[in-house]
């Protein structure tokens, strides 16, 4: 039991449970399968991108802020392409991955070859991609998207029946989120590449001395977050059934905060999939809770801020206690006469 207390994720899980209990007490509609599946669906967009952001934080501590722009561009590009040339959801997904991966890899190359810090480079690409999107599309909203997206969103997966006879099911988007989490976990824990990502994040010089190719590690990480952003874009389109050019951009901080709250260190080398999942889940529950409790959605930002403050304070306090308990001098006890 004591070992559990060491983990940031444990406190987060407790917080999530407490929050669920409080919200359910105020509005029992929270803990119903329909509601849960619903907010899991809407959270999937942020959730998928969060897995990518986790990888970036592990490799270097500094967050990537361009992933929302990549998602935005991919969303638009895929919708326009499918409107023009048709196709099916699978092709759309593949296209999204390729485009997202390429856009992300640019970050990796620039960071490595020009030795510029992650945050500066990604601020640049954020503006670059987002700006170019507006230049080429004029900022027009696309209200009608190909029906493939609607079909994708309503794919019946594990259909269940509700109390009053209505049917609901797991959405494909939620499944994509869980798949991303699983993939992320697998890479980080079971592959040499994943361990290299941790190594570079822990001590880049030592990693180089060991023979790890830091260029390819970085390019992989940034391409990966690009690919995931592309997939998130498809998920987003399937949910809102439109392409709005400025709706994903603006959420970078929220996603990063969720990942950091989940235990990823801003110094690099630390972070877990389960923490990232819990972080995103927490914010999703907060948002859903506000709706169910009839609070104005403007309160959302306030609660996000509070959650981050409390989370950071707790984890800081933990670290301080570890540091203070380290004894530097063993003072010899002498019998005082």
């Amino acid at each position: 039991m004591k070992r559990l207390l060491k983990y940031n994720e444990f406190y987060l899980a407790v917080l999530v449970v407490v929050l669920c209990i409080c919200i359910t007490a105020a509005n029992p509609a929270f803990l119903t399968p329909e509601n849960i599946l619903s907010f899991l669906k809407t959270a999937s967009v942020n959730g998928i991108m969060a897995v990518g952001v986790l990888f970036v934080l592990i490799v270097g501590g500094q967050p990537d802020v361009s992933f929302t722009a990549i998602a935005q561009v991919v969303e638009y590009a895929v919708v326009l392409a499918t409107l023009r040339w048709g196709g099916n959801i699978a092709i759309a997904l593949v296209g999204a991955c390729i485009l997202g991966g390429l856009m992300g890899s640019l970050n990796g190359f620039v960071i490595h070859y020009f030795r510029v810090t992650t945050i500066i480079v990604t601020i640049a690409t954020l503006n670059l991609y987002f700006g170019l999107l507006y230049v080429f599309t004029g900022g027009n909203v696309i209200f009608v998207v190909p029906s493939m997206f609607k079909h994708f969103a309503t794919l019946p997966i594990f259909p269940m029946h509700g109390a009053n006879g209505s049917t609901y099911d797991f959405s494909a988007m939620t499944l994509m989120w869980f798949a991303a989490l699983l993939l992320g976990w697998f890479i980080l824990k079971r592959t040499y590449l994943g361990r290299s990502i941790f190594a570079v994040g822990g001590n880049e010089v030592a990693a180089q001395r060991l023979g790890i190719n830091t260029l390819w590690v970085r390019v992989f990480v940034f391409s990966f977050v690009g690919v995931l952003s592309g997939i998130a874009a498809i998920a987003h389109t399937s949910i809102v059934l439109s392409a709005i050019p400025n709706i994903i951009v603006g959420h970078e901080m929220e996603v990063i905060a969720a990942v950091v709250l989940g235990g990823a260190s801003l110094f690099g080398g630390k972070g877990t999939i389960i923490g990232t999942f819990l972080g995103v889940l927490l914010f999703a529950i907060l948002q859903n809770g506000l709706v169910l409790l009839n609070f104005s959605s403007y309160w959302y930002d306030v609660t996000v801020g509070l959650a981050i403050t409390i989370g950071m304070t707790v984890s800081s306090y933990q670290q301080l206690r570890v540091r203070r308990s380290r004894v530097n001098v063993k003072v010899e006890q002498v019998a005082v006469s």
Partner: protein, 499 residues
């Protein structure tokens, strides 16, 4: 031709960087199974030599022979394959990963497999740990281990391949006495298995204790290699500095001087207990003790950085409460810290800015703006009186040599006209020649009436530069002795004596 006995032979190695030569015509050899120490000042070319041996840097010219065969392309992988591993001072460990992973990572890289097999990692780690018989928890996070154990992890990692030569770069820099003993045990054990060890150290007492042979480098050239039988401290110093440095003892002109400082029963939990001593004008009081004896903690308490829990401090007969650095400075204390780079200087600032940092408030015009003329004059005065070698005061202090940097730190504090100057490890990492000139500055200071407390773990420094000596161990003062009555080996033995 290299003899059969030589594991490694370097002939006529030259290396220069951008026109400045780092190594010139160096001939160096290592006999199989010996413990060989390489010593030299900062800038002597030690690190460059290590980098050439490990393959990180290629030599400009010269030959490298390993086990009798000429090495044509000395790359890192080539040298690792030849069985040469270097453990740098920073240990090059991955602090966020576990012991098992750190030890096995090198093997992972070599195996080039996409997937990680955790049981295999534990197996590799366990095997390496067993080879040196140290107690390491496979799942401990390396960054949380004490430095001594981290070093063991680094050594285990070196053992995962076929190790023939282990190079240790300043391995004992931050180790406690117990950890140093453990390291020496492990090193001797490896020697008995036929592994050659090369130690780079500037701690002459350690070198004298374990080296089979010692090589001295100076200004990029080999001064010579001497065998254990001819090793003496003075011989080494002479080879390192290039001249004979006379070590005279500090003498205290006694005669009922004023009592500057009276410390009574100073105590701080987990730091030190029941510390009492006096300090008179013109004295240099040495405090000798190993890491973990509480000596630095005592200095931090006197200077208000980590104030004591109980006890009294009287300066000039007046009791002072020292709860902060401001209190300490107001009471007349000055403190030259152990880590001059991180605690004594603002590295990116100029020499001038660092020098006046503590007294800048006094260098203002009536309108409370900085009086630039007075400031510049003060800076020039201190540069002159402390002989700080710098082209002009605007130069960033990080470009100075260690000895000159330390003069800047001392100058900064002397400018506050302190009554009591506390020096903690003042000549760590400073060249042998520069060391004695800093000692001279301190002696002159004492002669002018300042009380000096000199804390150091270099016994020769503290014995020859003080008139009285306090021995600290486990947070308490064990003895107070007249420096003239002891030698550094005596004192070394006294601070190490088991509780």
């Amino acid at each position: 031709m290299p003899t059969m006995d030589d594991f490694l032979r370097l002939r006529n190695i030259h290396k220069s960087f951008v026109g400045v030569y780092a190594l010139k015509g160096v001939d160096f050899s290592l006999r199989s199974g010996e413990i060989h120490c390489l010593i030299g000042e900062n800038g002597s070319g030690k690190s460059t030599l290590i980098k050439i041996i490990s393959g990180v840097q290629p030599a400009d010219s010269g030959e490298i022979w390993v086990s009798g065969t000429r090495v044509t392309r000395a790359t890192t992988s080539e040298m690792i394959r030849a069985g040469i591993q270097v453990i740098y001072q920073d240990l090059s460990l991955l602090p966020n990963l576990t012991v098992a992973e750190n030890i096995a990572f090198a093997e992972l890289v070599k195996a080039r497999r996409a997937m990680v097999h955790w049981p295999k990692i534990r197996e590799i780690a366990r095997a390496a740990i067993a080879r040196i018989g140290v107690n390491l928890d496979l799942d401990a996070v390396v960054g949380e281990l004490p430095v001594g154990l981290q070093q063991m992890v680094a050594i285990c990692r070196a053992l995962t391949g076929e190790l023939k030569l282990l190079v240790l770069d300043e391995p004992t820099a931050s180790l406690t006495k117990g950890e140093i003993d453990n390291l020496i045990k492990v090193v001797r054990d490896m020697q008995s298995r036929g592994i050659t060890i090369m130690f780079i150290s500037h701690k002459l007492n350690e070198v004298l204790a374990i080296a089979d042979r010692v090589t001295v480098l100076r200004d990029g050239q080999m001064v010579g290699t001497i065998d254990r039988s001819e090793l003496t401290n003075d011989r080494l110093i002479e080879m390192m500095a290039g001249k004979v440095l006379k070590q005279t003892r500090f003498t205290y002109a006694d005669g009922h001087r004023k009592k500057l400082l009276e410390v009574s029963h100073l105590t701080k939990a987990n730091n030190f207990a029941d510390i009492s001593f006096d300090l008179y004008e013109g004295e240099i009081l040495g405090i000798a003790g190993l890491i973990g004896s509480g000596r630095t903690e005592l200095a931090l308490a006197l200077f208000g950085i980590a104030p004591a829990d109980s006890g009294t401090i009287k300066v000039g007969g007046v009791e002072r409460s020292i709860e902060s650095v401001q209190d300490a400075v107001a009471a007349g204390f000055a403190y030259v810290p152990e880590n001059r780079l991180t605690e004594g200087l603002v590295l990116k600032h100029s020499v001038g800015e660092n020098l006046v940092a503590a007294i800048i408030r006094q260098l203002v015009s009536p309108v409370r703006l900085i009086d630039e003329k007075r400031r510049d004059n003060t800076i020039a005065e201190w540069i002159r009186s402390l002989s700080i070698r710098v082209a002009y005061p605007e130069v960033a202090v990080q470009t100075l040599s260690g000895g000159n940097q330390q003069r800047v730190v001392i100058g900064k504090w002397l400018a506050t006209k302190p009554k009591i100057l506390i020096l903690d490890g003042p000549t760590i990492g400073i060249d042998v020649a520069a060391k004695s000139s800093i000692h001279q500055i301190v002696r002159d200071l004492a002669a002018q009436g300042t009380g000096v407390i000199l804390i150091s773990d270099e016994m020769s420094e503290v014995v020859t530069n003080s008139n009285r000596l306090l021995l600290m161990r486990a947070g308490r003062i064990r003895a107070e002795i007249e420096s003239a009555t002891v030698t550094d080996t005596d004192v070394q033995a006294m601070v190490e004596a088991a509780a």
